[in-house]
Amino acid sequence: MKIMVAVKRVVDYAVKIRVRPDKNGVETQNVKMSMNPFCEIALEEALKIKESGFAKEVVAVSMGPSNCVDTLRTGLAMGADRAIHVEASRDLVPLTVAKLLKKLVEVENPGLLILGKQAIDDDCNQTGQMIAGLLGWPQGTFASKVVLDKEKHTASVDREVDGGLETLCLDLPAVITTDLRLNQPRYATLPNIMKAKSKPIKKYTPEELNVEIKSDFEVVQVTEPPKRKAGVILSSVDELIDKLKNEAHVI
């Protein structure tokens, strides 16, 4: 079985974000970028499945401008066997990514598609669900545990939902999106980084895959959240009631 993992290159989680002066987005120039943490978890899960013998090959996929190759190299250094890069210059929205992934799935025929639950730059949490819909595959999102059954060709997925944990049994092929508690991603060691340089990265363009890049929405403005106002120490309960009634208008 082949596992396909989609990874995204995002602003590193430790970086302090600034809004660009033109308010069209966040400053991404000269800022550290790395693989989305949830995508790392997804890749780690794929590697674990491969190591336990259920899969033969792990393919990492990323879409975006040419520097996505850095992220793919990290994925290869972690242990993926091959990588695919879909070169697209403009920002891709989840629906476009899902459509591109659908074409790649038709080419590669993986038995399992694993993604991170969301990207930390846009927090959309849509791609996994959309690709499952487009493919007509079962989906197990917010996975905190994945157990594969070889004979029955199913995956048992524990999902983290608002009420607690929900366990689903999915027929393969399926889409799984990973949540934080699924595993701890491994570090790419130096020797693996060097080995990764020789692993192949296949390039595609959206035209080759017959997908049109368009967005159904437009970002109008990005602003920082309002600065936290200083707290006020009150002297009595009466003052509190007065403020709640007359200033905050909540009673």
Binding site: D12, A14, K16, N30, K32, Q184, R186, Y187, T189, M194
Partner: protein, 632 residues
């Protein structure tokens, strides 16, 4: 996010420790001219632990406590004995440990200006002379440039030699110095003085950005750069020659399960920057200062912020330096303010670390400085983008050690080539890297040896510059005004031909007076607009370390903070550290105890330098941690 290493690659059980099993294809080019095998199998020697606990040379494939017979170790089939920590604890490791070793012709530690210049020059020489040498650069920062911080007014002399076409190749050196101002500050006034600098032809840059560009250029030439890998130890062979370095892989948990990699090189170049941890060890091991009767190195701590200011206040290329307030006449130091492009300015305070008053807090002095009327007017309406700190060398000519050791050399600020009166060290660091590269190439390709690097240094403009600049800083040992007077004498009258060479005073850590000779300094509270509290500033440095690792700041004697530092010196480390790593907090018995918040560390090395009893040793943490500078 928690991270730990899972041992995923196949492990090799080392039955026969005499030969390191190398599971990779060697990366040494087969056409090594000398025809030598580049596989060094080293014999283990029991390390001498020395009289100080925990100090001793450690060998890479297993650490053995004193006096263990080599044959005896064969008893430990499944484990290694490992020296851990500095209390002499010995811990055994779980079964097969991977000791993966990778061979290169040249290993460079540090992807800064010196390290990258050396790597680039090596590859350029390979192209010119049609040779092929494998060059690897390891860098502890998460990416190239992440740990690079500097003023910086850049003299392009070395860059012109390295990349004559740097302008066409779009090096981020594009703001020429347009005006040079020099102010003497008092609490409320600023007196304009003639600028002692001649910055014609120089540029205001962000060194972090320049180093990133150099990293890209180096990779284009075929240099392999590995950010996120910290060189934590030196590898020796049986002749006490350096044969490479060991990196500590990420993912050492506090209980010690760890995996290591070794970069073996025929030549190892140490380019760790000021007070490099491995360089310090090497200089001690081979007595490199004593070899040339060099004095001790002296240092300063620079604390810097990059601001984005109002458009109409911003004049790209403006260079401003100040002396005087907030520092007193006995403390050497001053501030800088440089206008870069895109409305960004660099502002910082440099304080020499031989200050006397243990209550001095350089970070708070910097915050005070920003409130001075001449400075305040520029900053108002602006926002801080980044914060950081780093120590720098001030020893100059008198403190340059012999920079060559068996198996390699020390380049850049690790040796110490900063020109103090010019306050520039980037160009000399780059040139030293280039000269070392040339000597390295000759050593590997033509069979000469690395002594050529020392000769080349002394015949180069680096030496001439440092020689001419040698008396400015030591003159200030006599005080601010005598120092200024002597500097004027040097600059205008003697013009570098002085017949004497002044000596440095006491080493920085000995210069601190005991607390009872001084009184605590009352610093104003930060206002959140111009001055900030430490946590806010730290957040802007993007510093982080995986908390689940051994504390990288080691106390040689764990009792000294409470028995010496606190009672005698009032805990100076809690004041000079620009990251609040050291704090004295009351424990459950209400006794003040030293708490080390190692995660905050900015890798500035001030504690390693200034601790009165030299009890704090800065060792390198896991690679990938530390600050994340992008425009510093």
């Amino acid at each position: 996010m928690h991270r730990f290493l899972s041992i995923s690659s196949k492990s090799t059980s080392l039955k026969n420790r005499k030969q390191l099993h190398l599971p990779f294809v060697s990366l040494v080019s087969p056409a090594t001219p000398e025809g030598q095998s580049c596989f060094h199998y080293f014999d283990q020697k029991p390390p001498s632990l020395g009289t100080r606990l925990g100090f001793g040379r450690v060998f890479s494939s297993g650490y053995f406590p004193n006096r263990v017979n080599l044959k005896e170790h064969e008893r430990y089939e499944n484990g290694f004995l490992r020296l851990k920590g500095f209390a002499g604890e010995i811990r055994s490791y779980s079964s097969e440990i991977d000791r993966e070793s990778i061979e290169y012709d040249v290993v460079v530690v540090g992807a800064g200006p010196a390290g990258l210049s050396a790597a680039i020059r090596l590859k350029q020489l390979c192209q010119e002379k049609k040779a092929d040498l494998s060059v690897c650069v390891v860098e502890k920062g998460a990416e190239v440039g992440a740990h690079v911080l500097s003023g910086n007014v850049f003299e392009p002399r070395a860059l012109d030699e390295l990349f004559p076409q740097w302008k066409d190749e779009e090096a981020p050196v594009n703001v020429p110095v347009s005006c040079d101002k020099f102010l003497f500050l008092t609490k409320n006034r600023a007196i304009s003085l003639p600028s002692p600098f001649d910055n014609e032809g120089n540029y205001v840059i962000s060194l972090s950005q320049l180093v990133r560009w150099m990293g890209v250029k180096a990779e284009e030439l075929g240099v392999e750069i590995y950010p996120g890998f910290a060189a934590s130890e030196i590898l020796y062979d049986e002749d006490n020659k350096v044969v490479g370095i060991g990196t500590n892989d990420m993912g050492v948990t506090k209980d010690g399960s760890k995996k290591e990699n070794f970069q073996r090189g025929r030549i190892t170049l140490l380019a760790e920057g000021c007070r490099g941890s491995l360089s310090q060890k090497i200089m001690k091991e081979y007595k490199l200062r004593e070899k040339v009767q060099a004095q001790h190195q002296t240092y300063a701590l620079g604390i810097k912020e990059v601001w984005e200011i109002d458009e109409n206040k911003h004049k790209p290329g403006t260079v401003l330096h100040t002396l005087g307030w907030p520092l007193d006449s006995k403390t050497y130091g001053g501030s800088f303010l440089y206008h870069m492009k895109d409305r960004q300015i660099s502002i910082g305070l440099v304080v020499a670390l031989n200050y006397h008053n243990p209550f001095l807090n350089p970070y708070e002095e910097f915050q005070k400085l920003k409130h001075h009327p001449s400075i305040k007017c520029l900053l108002e309406g602006g926002t801080v983008i980044q914060y950081g700190a780093r120590t720098l060398n001030e020893g100059g000519f008198q403190s340059v050690p012999y920079p060559v050791f068996p198996g390699g050399a020390i380049i850049g600020c690790s040796a110490g080539f900063l020109n103090v009166p010019k306050i520039k060290g980037t160009h000399t660091a780059m040139k030293s890297g280039m000269l070392a590269a040339e000597a390295t190439f000759d050593t590997l390709h033509e069979g000469s040896n690395m002594e050529a690097y020392w000769d080349a240094l002394r015949n180069s403009w680096v030496w001439e510059e440092l020689h001419r600049a040698r008396n400015y800083r030591p003159a200030f040992e006599y005080g601010l005004l005598p120092g200024l007077a002597l500097s004027a004498l040097e600059h205008y009258v003697l013009k570098g031909k002085s017949p004497f060479t002044l000596k440095h005073g006491k080493p920085d850590h000995e210069a601190t007076n005991v607390a009872k000779l001084h009184s605590p300094i009352e610093y104003p509270k930060p206002d959140g607009v111009l001055s900030f509290d430490m946590p806010t500033s730290l957040h802007r440095s993007n510093t982080n370390h995986n908390h689940d690792q051994l504390v990288h700041l080691r106390l040689r004697d764990p009792n000294i903070p409470e028995t010496v530092n606190l009672p005698e010196y009032a805990g100076p480390e809690s004041r000079y550290c620009p990251a609040r790593v050291y704090e004295y907090v009351p424990d459950e018995k209400n006794q003040l105890k030293l708490q080390i918040n190692a995660q905050n560390c900015l890798h500035c090395k001030a504690c390693d330098i200034k601790d009165p009893k030299q009890n704090i040793e800065w060792t390198v943490p896991e690679g990938g941690g530390g600050p994340g500078y992008s425009v510093m």
